[in-house]
């Protein structure tokens, strides 16, 4: 018997499988969602259970401007990938840089808020349950933004050096998928921390 099966040669099979990068990213997003779910549950469970101040309603102000920055970066990254798919490399680089700038602005906003909370309001991760859950949840999100920004910066460097071409659009799109996830999580975190939790 031959070692290799040539099992069917008569049938013409049309064979179209999904792109592995996308499937892998969807799986990673599912895992990350589960992690965030646990942190969100912990946050909601501990709302109002802190024994000492400061309390959320005294010190938290909804970061509307920075939220708009982050959410609009989803639009710019989408447009960037669309430009690349249409082989407009220049437009891609510009929109990609804009995404990076918007994301970095958001991160700077988080940093400023933390600075104010720590030095002006005296709220640290050790102060009370609110501090513990707030810095963990917002910090976990900021960590994901940082990872996303590192990825975006890497692609931007490659783009500026002229290595990113139309055929890479599918791969760049996988990174964009992750960025959309980071933005979507912020909608949840914002709602939980600045709307429900306050």
């Amino acid at each position: 018997m031959s070692t290799q099966p040539a099992l069917i040669s008569d049938a013409n099979i049309t064979w179209d499988l999904p792109q592995r990068g996308r499937v892998g990213m969807y799986c990673l997003i599912s895992a990350e969602s589960a992690i965030f779910t646990i942190f969100v549950v912990a946050y909601l469970f501990y709302v109002g259970k802190s024994l000492t101040g400061p309390m959320p309603r005294d010190v938290l102000h909804a970061p509307i401007f920075f939220t708009i920055c982050l959410l609009s970066s989803s639009l710019t990254i989408h447009l960037a990938v669309r430009s690349l798919k249409r082989a407009k490399v220049g437009g891609f680089a510009l929109l990609w840089f804009l995404t990076l700038a918007l994301g970095a602005t958001f991160l700077a906003g988080t940093a400023r808020e933390w600075h104010r909370l720590i030095y002006d309001e005296g709220l640290t991760i050790q102060t009370n349950l609110f501090g513990t859950t707030y810095y963990s949840l917002v910090g976990l999100h900021a960590f994901h933004v940082t990872i996303g920004l590192l990825g975006i910066t890497t692609v931007l460097l490659f783009a500026l050096l002229g290595y990113v071409r139309q055929e890479h659009a599918e791969r760049v799109d996988v990174l964009a998928l992750y960025w959309h996830f980071v933005d979507a999580v912020w909608v949840v975190v914002f709602t939980v921390v600045y709307v429900i939790g306050r």
Binding site: I13, R20, A34
Partner: protein, 557 residues
């Protein structure tokens, strides 16, 4: 011819110096080598975890024994549980999944080979980190060595106040790291199955092993992630002074239990579903029949996975929940018996009327069937909250879950070892030693775990260091410990068989079992590229179609 080239290649590889071969293994991204590394790694930890179990059993062999100190006893049960779950069974099953899934779906490797290697080394590092605690966890305070908080590490035992030194940190970080490795492997398995199947292999034509490992990988993603989140919280508490599980600052010890068991119960199915997968491949081949009720098997597995996400708090009946929560978790836990029962009947129906060959893999699968049934029955007993109020945290519970993990999962895994050993090594194992292993292990298993139920019913709590004489526990504990020696003898025979057969076994061809799935269509062991020509399939049993062109399966499916 292709085979000649492969033999030449193997002869060349064998003659390379040891350092070069070691370097090849350490830097490999080949799914087969990584699979074997997972399996060997798990076998090493199986020995270590087994020795820890034996130490506990020797301590409990008679009342007022002083074989080890109470502190060491606490470390032994913590390390035994953590090792067996995270560094034996999971890597073992990941190893088989890594090795078999690409071969069975006609692919040349996993979807992300480098992620695969990364995941393996994360898991390996996690295990080494856990055991480094014996040396390194003394910390600045000179307190503690290995983790001693139990494998589910309830708060507040894990707080800085009660766990000085670094033992709990080693536990947390090793599980966090190996957890990331597990998530990476799960992502890889899912992407492989969705994106790498050979032409013609629709989802409905995949071997059951691939299907069940797909479900397992989904469960890993949904179960290990909450554990990682909880471990991050624990690390925040211990390192940064957070208050997640700090009751003094308004935190909750119970929420740790919820987070842990949201991981912990699906984890049971992460472990048992690949065992189902082995049985679903082995039973048909040794009954000479196609699997009975393939679509129902898939549906039942998916159903088990769904329900398993909603049963976690049956581990917490004794903690005290309200009546509605108790009722919900009693009912959902009982409901899981339905799809599980369906699977047992399907395996029986596969054997029914078949021409059964009682080879070692089949013996282990038959052992699995009966022992898993009994494990399920005690599971239904424990699913009733009032029953658990009496027997929670007793040796009855210990006996129940060891029936699942040893009686079902380990037996099925031994079956898988013997079934795929010829494929992985190119050599046939020794059938006499295999049968000796089966009978020794079967006798040892039943001596240990059948008799372990009774002291539990008589009120013996788990994790107890020693006990008073005259409570009716003495003889039973003696029998339980005697069983351990039979099991250890069985394991030694098993390892001896593997080693002896690897070096001196009879060389086998590509298909020693006359089996039907694609891994048997390539040489044993398979070449690095698996298939010279990517196969195309039309049915669930492509090799049957090849061997019986006059009566192929695809006419009936």
């Amino acid at each position: 011819m292709a085979t000649d080239a492969i033999t030449t290649l193997r002869a060349e590889t064998a003659s390379l110096p040891f350092v070069v071969r070691l370097h090849e293994w350490v830097t490999t991204v080949d799914h087969k080598r990584l699979g074997i590394m997972y399996i060997v790694y798990a076998l090493v930890f199986l020995m270590i975890g087994g020795v820890e179990a034996a130490i506990m059993r020797i301590q409990l062999i008679r009342p007022h024994n002083n074989f080890v100190s109470p502190e060491v006893f606490n470390q032994m049960f913590t390390m035994h549980g953590t090792t067996m779950i995270f560094f034996v069974i999971m890597p073992m099953l990941f190893g088989f999944a890594n090795y078999l899934v690409p071969l069975m779906i006609g692919a040349r490797d996993m979807a992300f080979p480098r992620l695969n290697a990364f995941s393996f080394w994360l898991t390996a590092f996690g295990g080494i980190l856990l055991y480094f605690s014996f040396l390194g966890a003394n910390g600045l305070y000179g307190n503690g060595t290995a983790p001693d908080v139990g494998w589910f590490a309830y708060a507040p035992l894990t707080s800085r106040t009660f766990s000085l030194g670094h033992s709990t940190d080693f536990w947390t970080l090793s599980l966090l790291i190996s957890g990331f490795g597990s998530i990476g492997t799960a992502v890889n398995i899912i992407a492989t199955i969705f994106c790498m199947r050979c032409p013609g292999m629709t989802l409905a034509k995949m071997p059951l092993l691939a299907w069940l490992n797909l479900v397992m990988a989904v469960l890993v993603i949904l179960a290990i992630s909450p554990l990682s989140a909880a471990q991050i919280m624990l690390a925040v508490d211990r390192y940064l002074g957070g208050h997640f599980f700090d009751t003094q600052a308004g935190g909750s010890a119970v929420i740790w239990m919820h987070f842990f068991w949201i991981f912990g119960h699906p984890e049971v199915y992460v472990l048992v579903i690949p065992a189902f997968a082995f049985v679903s491949e082995i039973v048909p081949v040794f009954s000479r029949k196609a699997i009975f009720g393939y679509p129902v098997m898939v549906a039942a597995t998916v159903c088990i996975a769904f329900i398993s996400m909603s049963v976690w708090a049956h581990h917490m009946f004794t903690v005290g929940m309200n009546a509605n929560a108790n009722t919900f978790f009693v009912l959902s836990t009982m409901a899981i018996a339905v799809p599980t029962g369906i699977k047992i009947f399907n395996w029986l129906a596969t054997m029914w009327g078949g021409k059964i060959h009682f080879k070692t893999p089949m013996l282990f699968c038959i052992g699995f069937l009966f022992q898993f049934l009994i494990a399920g029955l005690t599971g239904i007993m424990l699913s009733a909250a009032p029953f658990t109020w009496h027997l929670g945290n007793s040796y009855f519970v210990v006996a129940h879950f060891h029936y699942v993990i040893v009686g079902a999962i380990l037996f099925a895994t031994f079956g898988a070892f013997y079934y795929w050993f010829p494929k992985m090594s190119g050599k046939m194992y020794n059938e006499t030693l295999g049968k000796l292993h089966f009978w020794l292990f079967l006798i040892g298993f039943h001596l240990t775990f059948d008799f372990m139920h009774v002291p539990g019913l008589l009120g013996m709590p788990r994790r107890i260091y020693t006990y008073e004489p005259g409570r009716g526990w003495d003889t039973l504990n003696l029998i339980v410990t005697i069983g351990v020696f039979f099991q250890a003898a069985g394991i030694l025979v098993f390892v001896a068989n593997l080693l002896w057969s690897y070096f001196h076994g009879e060389t086998v061809g590509s298909d020693p079992w006359d089996a039907w799935t694609l891994e048997w269509s390539t040489s044993s062991p398979p070449p690095a590229y698996n298939f010279a020509i990517i196969p195309e399939v039309r049915s669930r049993r492509p090799l049957w179609d090849l061997k019986h062109p006059e009566d192929p399966d695809w006419k009936y499916e």
